[in-house]
């Protein structure tokens, strides 16, 4: 008896053997998973990590049999508690979904037209024999468990009335409804801000201990892997290229792909010794050999001319509402923001969603008009310029966006798209434009003959290169990069950042780099400005901000970044808090802020007194 129990405990909860999944695409069967095998023990966390298209989500969907049966084929064995899930009748499989195996996705997966209470009650009643009233009571208890404040009163709210972090808590609560043995989490924190992500990960770890669950955690973020998992599988193009203890994989990756992936992961604090930005090392995916080592980028000296000067910039948006549609409040998106950027310098604006960093960029570009303040580009006041001069100035600064899909016209060849600004500004004829496009495509690492293709023929990283080429055709001095690399896969992100650094040293470009990703920011910037609720709370040289953060918010932000080091797993705790909103009453007068100079060029906002 005792022996039998021990036997059961040591046998894995879930054993996946030779999982092979194929999709039918235009009549042909295409293999998307090749013989993936792994096991998850009781109370263990297994991370499945990989870039887009690696098959990590398909693995989870195959285990749960959630792929459309008509166009997909799953082979192999998925043993869960001794039963092969792939052979179960569909009705029994349905009872396992949401019962013994629960799933959470990105927090946007709640049905927008039903209340969260509806979601919870329907899940509870589907699996457990409860009356409507009992299910509601249970739902409140579950919301309490995931620490949602005043749970009972929020049951009849809809998903859009919750913040992202709270929505993810709701999903976790629903997952816990039937005491699952295994929780499959498919990129649950990808769209969340870093402080919120840290809270959610912590909640998951706490609940795992309480509920004695196993977790299959799917992510693309190596930092989250290090933070969460005991074991890790690295996936690449449908193959599990490496499987093992997480610590082992981080310390001594065996597969060449894992090595190239880890090399592309920016790690907070690794730049402490380096004065300027630094290229990512390039590692060949096939062989694992180092093709190009990490190299420092250029550092502008103090005598370089100032390119952009922003002073006391204020941008507010009116909110109308109420019975008569009157002014009910204002979003103080940008509040007295001042900074300058020298030639060849990168200033990063960091902060979480709603902090006003994107609005700052858009206001500088003139896409949003400021309420007050001044923006001087190469000494000329942008706001006071006439139409023609404004166009001239616009040529000197260009913007690239997060989503290269929607910022490139799908019906225009990329050659035409790149040449368009050149022709609009009448900088030369068509032949000249063609030559310049060819030259730029080469510069951003593409081939000149690609000019005749359409955007959909390119990958996300390539499209971002095209956006860069289009920005560069006007020979700008300043590029405003608004979350330009945020949506890219790790290795592609590293390549685009390397390209941006190369262009900077070749062309003496200045960057205003807007990002929420602290690790990337550390990698690329000379100076950093931390924004919080529309204001800059701390600004200074990169080494000063990362090495000697003074403002409490900067510290909180830094401590929330997942550390790609499994030995530091779960060491930090972060208090549960929500992002504050910059919406203020109509008569709100922003307080006068004072700044203290910590060291040369490192300023920090003094706390409210």
């Amino acid at each position: 008896m005792v022996q039998a129990k021990a036997q059961r405990d040591s046998s894995p909860l879930l054993a996946v053997r030779n999982l092979r999944t194929s999709f039918q695409v235009e009549g042909r069967w295409t293999r998307v998973l090749n013989d993936v095998s792994f096991e998850i023990g009781n109370r263990q966390t297994l991370a499945v990590v990989g870039e887009s298209g690696s098959g990590k989500s398909v693995t989870a969907m195959s285990i749960m049999r959630l792929l459309p049966p008509a166009t997909s084929r799953i082979e192999g064995e998925v043993l869960f508690g001794g039963r092969d899930l792939l052979k179960l009748p569909s009705e029994e499989m349905r009872r396992i979904r949401g019962g013994d195996i629960a799933m959470i996705f990105q927090e946007t997966s709640l049905n927008p037209v039903y209340t969260i209470g509806f979601h919870m009650v329907e899940t509870l009643r589907q699996h457990r024999n409860l009356s409507a009233a009992e299910a509601r009571r249970e739902a409140v208890a579950l919301l309490d468990k995931v620490r949602i404040p005043s749970a009972a009163s929020r049951l009849d709210d809809y998903a859009h009335q919750f913040s992202g972090g709270m929505r993810q808590r709701v999903m976790i609560a629903i997952a816990l409804a039937c005491n699952p043995k295994l929780l499959i989490a498919d990129e649950p924190t990808t769209a969340l801000d870093v402080t919120i992500q840290a809270q959610i990960l912590q909640t998951l770890r706490d609940l795992q201990a309480e509920e004695e669950m196993s977790i299959l955690f799917i992510t693309h973020d190596m930092g989250v892997v290090a933070e969460m998992s005991d074991r890790t599988i690295v996936m690449y193009h449908g193959d599990a290229v490496e499987e093992g203890e997480t610590r082992q994989i981080f310390a001594a990756p065996r597969a060449p792909y894992t090595r190239s992936l880890l090399a592309a992961v920016p790690r907070l604090g690794e730049m402490a010794e380096s004065p300027g930005p630094s290229r990512f090392p390039v590692i060949d995916r096939a062989t694992g050999a180092v093709v190009a080592p990490a190299a420092s980028g250029s550092v502008p000296d103090g005598s370089a001319p100032i390119i952009l000067q922003v002073e006391d910039l204020v941008t507010r948006f009116d909110i109308h509402g109420g019975a008569l549609g009157g002014l009910t409040g204002r979003v103080h998106a940008v509040e007295k923001v001042s900074f300058d950027i020298r030639e060849g310098e990168t200033l990063s604006l960091v902060g979480e969603s709603g902090c006003g960093k994107s609005t700052t960029g858009r206001t500088i570009m003139g896409l949003t008009s400021p309420n007050s303040g001044s923006v001087r580009m190469e000494g000329r006041e942008v706001g006071s310029l006439g139409r023609r001069e404004l166009r001239m100035t616009r040529r000197r600064m260009q913007m690239i966006f997060q989503d290269p899909v929607s910022s490139l016209n799908a019906r225009m060849t990329v050659g035409t798209a790149i040449a368009e600004p050149f022709l609009v500004h009448k900088l030369g004829g068509k032949a000249q434009a063609r030559d310049k496009v060819a030259d730029l495509l080469e510069r951003v690492g593409l081939r000149p003959d690609m000019a005749n293709r359409y955007p959909h023929e390119f990958s996300g990283g390539q499209r971002q290169r095209i956006s860069l080429a289009r920005a560069l055709i006007l020979d700008p001095k300043l590029i405003i990069a608004d979350e330009s690399v945020s949506a890219l896969d790790v290795s592609v992100k590293a390549q685009v950042i390397n390209l941006m650094l190369d262009l900077q040293s070749q062309l003496k470009l200045s960057y205003l780099f807007i990002s929420h990703d602290m690790a990337v920011v550390e990698r690329v910037s000379h100076r950093v400005a931390v924004m919080y609720l529309g204001e800059i709370v701390e600004i200074g040289a990169r080494a000063a901000i990362f090495g000697n953060p003074q403002h409490p918010y900067t510290r909180k932000l830094l401590s929330a970044v997942p550390v790609a080091d499994p030995y530091q797993r779960g060491q930090r705790r972060i208090e549960v808090s929500e992002l504050k909103s910059p919406v203020r009453a109509v008569d709100f007068v922003p307080p006068n802020r004072e700044y203290r100079e910590v060291s040369a060029g490192h300023w920090v906002q003094l706390a409210d007194n």
């Binding site: 749960m64 979904r97 996705f105 049905n111 037209v113 039903y114 899940t123 009116d318 549609g325």
Partner: protein, 327 residues
């Protein structure tokens, strides 16, 4: 919400005023009702007498003001032809059109929605493809032709159903209704079917498109991952999300059936408002035309209002009368 309601009401009144002006001016341009109403051999004195009696000797502006004054007291003038209050004439015909419209739209929804659901869920099956191809016919075949064919087949050849008229009626709320008697139903069936075919095809295609759009959404995958039965996923999570465009179309189509079911009513000799308005236009019976158009505006305003209210019930993110701050 209250503000929104007031705005809506104001809009409706403005539309009605604009409509009445357009109609008044427009009608004044085309022809003289006196020419049609009086026999050609009537003498000049007789003509003048009739013109004065109908108020047609006054300036147009004055006629309009007189009309407005009377309209505010619920009097839209007397029909030249029937010599009865215009509103009363129209309201007598209204039940016929109303029941035809309700049954036609109801039929289109009850058949179109399930077929569209099926076509969306099993888009690869031959039946779905057949339905989709069939719906093209529903769009493209002219109503009058289908009506004639229906009469040919079911009334003339098979002799199952009558070819026209309302049949036996029964009284409810003081009005005469066909749907209360079996014979009335027999008369209703063909015209209702004829009217509903186009709408059925429309609703079916819309439903299918909605289902195809909603199925790949995360919340559907999530609903399945929670172990909900397929039936529940479809009937609750899919259906509610695709209803907004469908409700819009049902509303618009309902309005247009009430207003413009002329062709069908003519073919099936259905004594509804559509037939009345055509007859009135032929004899330039101005009070009837004006009253009819105003009534139709009211009907459309009410349908749109109902549709908007249904939106908020379907999707909590829709808030009436509240404008979000535009970024």
């Amino acid at each position: 919400m209250i503000l929104w309601l007031l705005k809506r009401l104001l809009q409706a009144v403005l539309v009605m005023v604009a409509m009445s002006i357009i109609v008044f001016v427009g009608l004044n341009v085309i022809g003289n009702p006196v020419d049609i109403l009086i026999s050609p051999d009537a003498d000049q004195a007789e003509r003048l007498r009739v013109i004065a009696e109908l108020g047609l000797d006054q300036p147009l502006v004055w006629q309009y003001v007189e009309f407005l004054k009377a309209a505010l007291q619920g009097d839209l003038g007397n029909s030249y032809v029937f010599n009865q209050p215009a509103l009363q004439v129209i309201l007598q015909r209204m039940p016929a059109t109303l029941e035809l419209a309700v049954i036609a739209v109801g039929f289109a929804t009850l058949v179109g929605l399930p077929l569209g659901l099926y076509a969306g869920l099993r888009s690869q099956s031959w039946l779905a493809k057949f339905l989709m191809a069939g719906s093209i016919l529903g769009f493209s075949l002219p109503t009058f032709w289908i009506g004639l064919m229906l009469i040919m087949v079911f009334a003339v050849q098979l002799g199952w159903l009558p070819s026209g008229g309302r049949g036996e009626t029964a009284s409810l709320f003081g009005l005469q209704w066909s749907f209360l008697t079996a014979d009335g139903w027999r008369h209703l069936l063909l015209p209702a079917l004829n009217l509903s075919l186009f709408k059925m095809a429309l609703i079916m295609r819309l439903t299918r498109a909605g289902v195809r759009e909603v199925l790949p959404q995360d919340y559907i995958r999530y609903a399945r991952a929670r172990g909900l039965t397929e039936q529940r996923v479809i009937s609750l999570h899919v259906l509610k999300n695709i209803m907004i465009p469908i409700v819009t179309v049902i509303g618009i189509e309902f309005g247009s059936v009430i207003a413009f079911s002329v062709v069908t009513e003519t073919i099936f000799a259905w004594p509804g408002m559509g037939k009345l308005i055509i007859d009135s236009i032929n004899v330039l019976d101005r009070p009837i035309i004006v009253a009819y158009l105003l009534l139709i505006v009211v009907v459309f305003v009410w349908i749109n209002f109902a549709v908007d209210v249904v939106y908020t019930l379907l999707d909590p993110r829709v808030r009436l009368g509240q404008k979000g701050s535009a970024r």
